[in-house]
């Protein structure tokens, strides 16, 4: 009994005691988690856009983030002004979207979802190889200041301590909110946005009222390419632009499970839960396990969550028929 209550204390009481002992640290941890949560949410958003419109599980989203950021940085290194580099990168993502639709997706219409998933994994290999071939494998630093983003930080004195806010993190949060709002408007107010929702709802019905599937797919891939670019800039500003980002992007998959594959708000909420949850877990529970728990926390959380709610928080419940 003695050891049992000690274990109980270790897992369920002492982390909370630590939290209340240093509330400023707790706030800092939550803020860090919030920011990385936003970045997870942005990657997950790219997944959701494509999955909603084409039922393709786009594994290449992570590498697209790296690719977009690398194109931007390399263009700038070549002497292109930052604003022009940004526009050119958007153009490159557009060409990428068009060619993916043209060369890969169009040929794989109506295939099993595992096969589409494999195709995007193949795409990941191609983009990774091409990226390393063209831009080299070493990490590059993001052109944060040239894009007009501040790199300073502000302190906030609270609870007899200070919480540090990096300006770039604040910018990330604001930009993410703007982008989600823009996407929401785009989906509900524009003609293309409505067509996208129609395709997401029912491919055949959308086809029958004259919506071009191919066009829609090119548009969603382009849209998620832009989301990838924004994510790449934000993430690159926090650390370097490197291919290691790709593995981190896999965590967005756990976010997707929490939020549901087809839900934009789900991606946001899921991202925040994973981001904040994993930082708290790492800081307060991590030492019990010997550290490094960030690597699996998101997945295990998703796994446990799925046992109770298989369709995710905002996912649609499918009724199966025979």
């Amino acid at each position: 009994m003695e050891s049992f209550s000690a274990a109980l204390d270790l897992f369920f009481l002492s982390p909370f005691r630590e939290m209340t002992a240093l509330p400023d640290l707790l706030l800092q941890v939550i803020w860090e988690g919030f920011v990385s949560g936003i970045l997870y949410a942005l990657i997950a958003l790219g997944f959701v856009l494509i999955y909603k419109a084409s039922a393709v599980f786009n594994f290449a989203q992570g590498i697209m983030v790296v690719f977009a950021a690398l194109v931007l940085v390399s263009l700038f290194d070549l002497g292109v002004p930052a604003w022009l580099a940004l526009i050119l990168t958007i153009g490159v993502m557009g060409i990428l979207a068009l060619s993916i639709e043209r060369l890969v997706l169009r040929k794989l219409v109506n295939q099993h979802e595992a096969i589409l998933l494999m195709a995007t994994i193949g795409l990941t290999l191609v983009l990774k190889g091409a990226g390393q071939l063209v831009f080299g494998g070493e990490p590059k630093s993001m052109i944060t200041e040239e894009l007009g983003l501040s790199t300073g930080s502000s302190d906030w004195e609270v609870f007899d301590g200070i919480v540090i806010f990096q300006h770039i993190d604040i910018a990330a949060a604001v930009i993410a909110i703007i982008m989600v709002a823009a996407l929401a408007l785009f989906f509900s107010r524009t003609r293309i946005g409505r067509a996208l929702r129609a395709v997401a709802d029912d491919h055949q019905a959308a086809l029958s009222v004259g919506i071009s599937l191919n066009q829609i797919w090119a548009i969603v891939w382009f849209a998620s390419g832009i989301v990838a670019l924004v994510t790449g800039i934000m993430w690159g500003a926090r650390s370097d632009v490197s291919f290691a980002l790709e593995i981190i992007a896999l965590k967005a998959l756990a976010v997707l499970i929490l939020g549901g594959f087809t839900s934009v708000p789900g991606a946001i909420v899921g991202g925040l839960i994973v981001g904040i949850g994993e930082k708290l877990f790492e800081v307060y529970w991590g030492p019990i396990f010997g550290g490094g728990v960030e690597a699996w926390f998101a997945y295990v959380l998703a796994l446990i969550f799925l046992l109770f709610r298989p369709q995710g928080m905002f996912g649609e419940r499918h009724i199966e028929r025979i």
Partner: protein, 360 residues
């Protein structure tokens, strides 16, 4: 002309239910086995045996493991690398705890640990399926990788964090460790892989295998027809993980010689998934074809520039081969989503009716 079953009459049920009912197939398989067991060890160079044939066989076995789960039971999994790791680490642990135990016995025992872990991470499959399940298996991948790093007991607390394969004897011959010759290791692996493939082929066409396929084709209908999904799905996970675990143990003990976490990372899970998809889901022959394709292709690609005396950096070549592999995967998915095995089957059908393709 040569590939005909005409005149081969079956006079008993057992002949009718044989694994290879057509005599030419039996001769072909016998030929392959003779080449693999006798000709290759006699004539092939050590390089060919140790860096092409041994990895090919290891990956074939792992691909069979994953194919049982993906192709036969219809449950996607991205955690193959970690399940191979469980096999490898438990094999290492058992043989260092009981050094006198026969290494082959240890090898087969270690598969059971992997099977157990597979069942645990297969539990969500009872509630969810498809891509959701694929992502939950990522939990297995990352959690187990973390265990391999953080739990020092698994690698006997040595400083490098790697597992070093000790020398083990069989019939007075070193079969693992630095003194084992490539040919010996190759023959051991070949025997194990052949036997396990035979077992898999028979399990798959038996009662359990059929229940897996029913679950794959339509789980609700299968349940209504009296298949227990709980038992079927978990047994598929157990069986598949057993094969992956043994493949992982083989990989470390008979190929790499020592291994760290990197040998079981997510890229290996993908590699084996490529093999299954390229080879063909739901085909054992396909596993071997896919493994050969995915493993041998980069080796050939790497050999091309020196052959033409081009001076290309090794790193550049690696990126190019990554691109080519990616393109080929997409190409194959577009041309034949059912993999090389389907191409092979179509080819055989064509051969049967050749030269009169319309005379059926």
């Amino acid at each position: 002309m040569l590939y005909r079953e005409a005149g081969q009459f079956k006079t008993s049920y057992s002949a009718d239910q044989a694994l290879l009912p057509i005599a030419q197939d039996r001769i072909g398989l016998l030929f392959i086995l003779v080449v693999a067991f006798i000709a290759l060890p006699m004539f092939a160079s050590d390089f060919f045996i140790s860096s092409i044939m041994i990895p090919f066989l290891v990956f074939s076995l792992a691909a069979i493991g994953l194919n049982i789960l993906m192709g036969y039971a219809g449950q996607l999994s991205l955690g193959t690398g970690a399940f191979m790791g469980v096999g490898a680490y438990s094999c290492y642990k058992i043989t260092s705890l009981f050094p006198d135990l026969n290494i082959l016995l240890v090898l087969f025992l270690s598969g059971f640990f992997s099977a157990g872990i597979g069942v645990v991470f297969g539990l969500p499959s009872l509630r969810i399926k498809g891509l959701y399940l694929a992502i939950t298996t990522l939990a297995a991948q990352f959690f187990l990788e973390w265990c391999f790093i953080r739990i020092g007991w698994l690698y006997n607390y040595n400083d490098s964090g790697a597992i070093e394969v000790p020398q083990r004897m069989l019939f007075g011959l070193a079969i693992t460790g630095p003194h084992a010759t490539p040919v010996t290791r190759y023959l051991v692996i070949l025997t194990i892989v052949s036997v396990m493939t035979l077992i898999a082929a028979n399990v798959l066409r038996g009662r359990i295998g059929r229940s897996w396929m029913m679950i794959r084709d339509m789980d609700i209908a299968a349940e209504l027809m009296g298949i227990r999904p709980l038992f079927s799905k978990l047994s598929a996970f157990a069986f598949s993980s057993y094969y992956c675990g043994v493949a992982g143990a083989l990989m470390v003990f008979f190929w790499l010689g020592s291994a760290e976490v990197e040998s079981f990372d997510i890229n290996h899970s993908f590699l084996i998934m490529f093999m299954v998809i390229i080879g063909g889901m739901g085909s054992l022959t396909g596993c071997f074809m896919g493994a050969a394709f995915i493993w041998v292709l980069p080796v050939i690609l790497r050999a091309i520039p020196p052959a033409f005396e081009l001076n290309i950096l090794a790193a550049t070549m690696e990126h190019v081969s990554s691109i080519i592999t990616g393109v080929l995967i997409i190409f194959f998915l577009i041309v034949e989503p059912h993999g090389l095995a389907r191409l092979w089957r179509v080819g055989k059908e064509k051969l049967r009716t050749w030269p009169f393709p319309y005379a059926t």
